[in-house]
């Protein structure tokens, strides 16, 4: 998007990535307060270490690397009992009246919260942010094959949790079902 320019300060680009950083942090942690702390730490680290960013490379991937490292190191250090919070969160979601498209969305949120952080992270990068397997692997500091297997396992587990088993998935490929499916998707946008 932006051509390498010696005069330009890459730090001016940080603000453009804020919405994606925060949305990723919220989707990963399911907790706004933790997410905002992560984003704040990441901004400060990125600002003070901007000399380590190679101009012309993917700044979003670079920022996400800092973001996720911040999350995993604070998770290790503080040993936050995120799972307890999750339990409450998951219950409150499950208690919401389930009707129309909200049923599926709530089911999905509950299922997504049950995944391991590493799986949810890989799936978000690939499925929601459109990262390539290579970009996601670099961001997470793991092999491409690891990202592939994490996303595959995550998809499989989500499908099971949401009752989208393979047989149903097969049946849903028939034209009638697909047209209903896409019609409901279009109307929800």
């Amino acid at each position: 998007m932006s051509a390498p320019d010696v005069a330009a300060d890459p730090r001016d680009e940080l603000v453009e990535h804020l919405p994606a950083m925060r949305a990723f942090a919220i989707s990963l942690t399911r907790n706004g307060a933790i997410a905002d702390d992560m984003v704040q730490d990441t901004l400060v680290k990125a600002w003070t270490n901007i000399d380590k960013f190679q101009v012309g490379t993917n700044m979003r991937a670079w920022l996400f690397t800092i973001l996720r490292n911040t999350y995993y190191s604070s998770r290790r250090k503080a040993k936050r009992e995120v799972s307890d919070v999750d339990g409450i969160f998951t219950e409150s979601l499950a208690e919401k009246p389930a009707h129309d498209g909200h049923l599926q969305m709530n089911d999905f949120r509950v299922a997504l919260a049950k995944l391991k952080d590493e799986q949810r992270e890989a799936l978000l990068l690939i499925g929601a942010l459109g990262f390539s397997y290579e970009e996601a692997a670099e961001t997470c500091g793991v092999a491409v094959g690891t990202i592939k297997s994490r996303t595959n396992r995550a998809r499989k587990q989500l499908a099971e949790l949401m009752g989208l088993n393979e047989n149903e998935a097969m049946e849903m490929t028939d034209d009638a079902t697909m047209s209903v499916l896409s019609a409901s998707k279009v109307s929800s946008f």
């Binding site: 940080l14 901004l43 600002w47 929601a128 079902t177």
Partner: protein, 52 residues
């Protein structure tokens, strides 16, 4: 709209929901504290007379 990578319907449903979860988070917007933090960092650098 164009749905990418919808070769399997199960994956299609999952990706659709993933994008929605993410988009909802994007739509929450950015708290002002982040923009003021960036301004603060910039100000600090200027005060230190750091040349770029």
């Amino acid at each position: 709209m164009t749905v990418q990578k919808q070769n399997k319907s199960g994956d299609g449903v999952i990706d659709e929901n993933l994008r929605r979860v993410y988009e909802e988070a994007v739509e929450e917007g950015i708290p002002d504290r982040f923009k003021s933090l960036l301004e603060q960092l910039k100000q600090q650098d200027n005060d230190q007379g750091r040349s770029q």
